[in-house]
Symmetry: C2
Subunit: 467 residues, 2 copies
């Protein structure tokens, strides 16, 4: 716990109205989009990097943990407070400082909602591609801290590929700048990309320089329904190898489809067991041609239906159905464990088949959907904690899935991060030596381990051993 006099010091740092310590307020900052929950000792809303620096210096002096937080939409527990710690909410740092069409960059504060930047750059004929499903709520600071992905990563890459530079308050209070306002840069170690995806454990991001692109002149959206999942997987493989450059290439299985069927703008019969949702960006007639080729591939591989959205509004309905999938799955069972494994492209059909086997073995529905185009699949183990044994079976299913993924040379997380949820499994992917090195890096940033402790590293292995 943070003692009352330290709370008063924090209060003095951030000013009246920018600290919460009443129980009912603390619970509002106790969780993210996982089922983990832990009330903090206090919640502070700093107004600038200098205040954050002072808060972190105080934390070092007194040894209390600090967890940075954007909108709390993360899926791995990264923003769940450390026991007895302080939550640092960055929503007051919410200015778009600059959008430069000349330099093709935007400079933003971490609390800017992703969708707000997307809209602002679009007004100027520009495009910020990273597009997590939570874009309407999540913040850019959180996107950078977790290296968020999204559906269009197939063509455009993930958040990491758009971060040119950062301002960061180090855990020991120094304010540094990394990277540059240039498209290329290789001066010194790549701190920008080391901090991107470091899940709030290496510092607090206070300013972000993002690369923009010109807005693609046209986009087409195509939906194709298949009588089984394997056929859909084969179509994915053909599309990728043909060099047709899909912008997004999403799939969803029958369980997922059932949850959003009513929302779709066209009739989706029960025979359809797998849906592909494809976007193609480019110049209008080029898009037309590539979308046509993809449609043919889908039909040749057995798609019973393949429909192109006729209007942007119709396309938007399709993408909206995609975005609500994660919450919609709660219709099947009240609880779910959402993983976001990624496998090599050729392993997608094998993974999809193996997931069905895990579902049978553990007696629980396993719904999957996601980014077939880059092998990053959102696997959801659905359960009801009120039914005896289901919670345990769900966790066993997750272990089964991680084992499968590792056998396929895959990774435990494509875009959600390790956080709390995958920390116990880190050793399934990284060797003891690689983890020890990462812990030495953590210590080089944060000698007193005050910055979001308990994340990434397996429980009980938080302490650093000398090399």
């Amino acid at each position: 716990m943070v003692p009352p006099d330290q709370i008063r010091q924090l209060q003095a740092l951030v000013g009246p109205g920018n600290l919460l310590s009443a129980q009912e307020d603390l619970w509002c900052y106790a969780f993210d989009a996982t089922d983990h929950i832990q009330a903090p000792a206090a919640v502070v809303f700093p107004g600038c990097a200098a205040e954050i620096s002072q808060i972190l210096r105080l934390a070092n002096r007194h040894g209390f943990p600090v967890t940075p937080r954007g909108a709390g939409t993360g899926r791995s527990g990264g923003a769940v407070p450390a026991p007895g710690g302080v939550v640092l909410v960055l929503t007051r740092l919410n200015r778009i400082l600059e959008i430069s069409p000349e330099d093709l960059v935007a400079v933003v504060e971490p609390g800017v909602i992703t969708g707000r930047l997307q809209a602002a750059v679009e007004e100027q004929g520009l495009y910020y591609p990273p597009d997590p499903s939570s874009a309407d709520f999540c913040t850019l600071g959180g996107n950078v801290a977790e290296c968020a992905g999204g559906a269009v990563a197939v063509q455009y890459g993930v958040t990491r590929d758009y971060v040119l530079g950062l301002q960061v308050v180090l855990p020991t209070g120094e304010i540094i700048e990394t990277g540059a306002r240039t498209m290329k840069g290789v001066v010194g170690y790549d701190l920008t990309r080391l901090i991107t995806g470091s899940e709030g454990t290496l510092g607090v991001i206070t300013r972000i320089i993002l690369r923009l692109t010109p807005r693609p002149p046209a986009r087409q959206t195509l939906a194709a329904g298949f009588p089984d999942l394997e056929m859909a997987a084969r179509a994915v493989s053909l599309i990728l190898r043909a060099g047709l450059v899909p912008t997004a290439l999403e799939f969803m299985d029958r369980t997922t489809l059932n949850c959003v069927r009513e929302m779709l703008p066209f009739r989706m019969t029960q025979e359809i067991a797998a849906l592909l949702l494809i976007a193609v960006d480019g110049h209008p007639h080029d898009v037309e041609e590539r979308a046509g080729a993809m449609e043919r591939f889908c039909r040749e591989q057995g798609a019973g239906m393949a429909i192109r959205a006729r209007t942007p509004a119709e396309a938007e309905v399709l993408w909206k159905a995609r975005r609500v999938m994660s919450p919609a799955l709660r219709q099947v069972k009240p609880q779910k464990i959402s993983e976001d494994v990624a496998v090599p492209l050729s392993a997608i059909p094998r993974l999809v088949a193996a997931l069905q086997e895990v579902s049978r073995r553990r007696g629980l529905p396993v719904a999957s959907y996601g980014h077939a185009g880059d092998g990053n699949i959102h696997v959801n183990v659905l359960y009801d904690q009120k039914i005896p044994g289901e919670k345990e079976a769900a966790h066993q299913a997750v272990e089964d899935i991680f084992s499968l993924v590792r056998q396929m040379d895959g990774t435990l997380s494509g875009e959600h991060g390790v956080g709390l949820t995958k920390a116990p499994y880190l050793e399934m992917e990284l060797s003891r030596e690689a983890i020890a090195l990462q812990q030495r890096l953590k210590r080089a940033f944060d000698p007193n381990n005050i910055m979001n402790p308990g994340k990434i590293f397996p429980p009980g292995r938080g302490r650093v051993t000398p090399p």
Copy 2:
């Protein structure tokens, strides 16, 4: 110096014929593509990661420095040995272990020549985009260590954007794997991208997993000559903002042009003071349309000539002229200092104008060419060391240029790295706090500072201070 008994131990580790210690052999490994020169104490040619691990353990035990080296084509002195040190040449690790069209990945050893991989993947209808001008000689290990760029980075990005995972021998001898064979991955800190561009100071890369793409179906090459450089710079800006997605967008100034004029496949009159060389990739008629639009932009901005290559052979001649520019400049003066600054896109015209002013002030030719499409300009200060004062004036010109670039929010290096040549200037770009953090990271990898010491960090600041 490495004492004779340690040389014998090294010899025993790598086996007969894989160690050089005769003076005449040592001088062959004393330099790279800069003018820096330093003979090593010994040159070893290890055959596998396990041997490298043993060599590094020996180096830690006895405290001698080790400098990894690929083909020695680097432009910042990264592969120049540390005084009294051992050069670790990685050319025996030269196998392409796998090319997987299904997974769109290649797995290679660090000594593979970049051009060899490019050709091997092309045979399978695939493409490995990073294309440094030295692709026919340089190695992939060196490309990763320096985060090499090249002409097509405008569309496709740099080496960093294609490295999915690494096997690395840490300076303390542990062999670790980073990243994964998947398109996405966010498990733990991003060691893959921290090591990419770390210039051989954080470990020895022994295996690389690279992302491939399908081979673009068509490419057009366009050359446009302008009566002055400012007009060319305006055309660049228009092309970038119009969303025409150039694959490469190179420029060269008059001095550079004069050195390659005879090589070009068409007549280039003396009125032409700046040339743009543009590539456009995509589906054939889309490429035709975009190349046409770019040609119109160039003519509207004052291009006296704009010609499209009619055959792949003609295009190849143009690109070859581009690749030989760096050595060709020695025609003007025997010595040159080549920098590769990068500036925000809008600053290109200002930089180009300011370079002419530096040339006048310092009384030396300053030739520039390079990647106008991403703001990464190769600036060459040409001098003759036999003419009194020219060498000093050249170094003053470089300082002038770095100051200008920093005033424009640019970076000292877009793709060549810091190495030896820019280490004295590091503090012009990075703050004291950022450098101290990077030194702590270096120590977390390399507590005894045996791995390529003297690179990146300013001379006399190599020792790490505790946080």
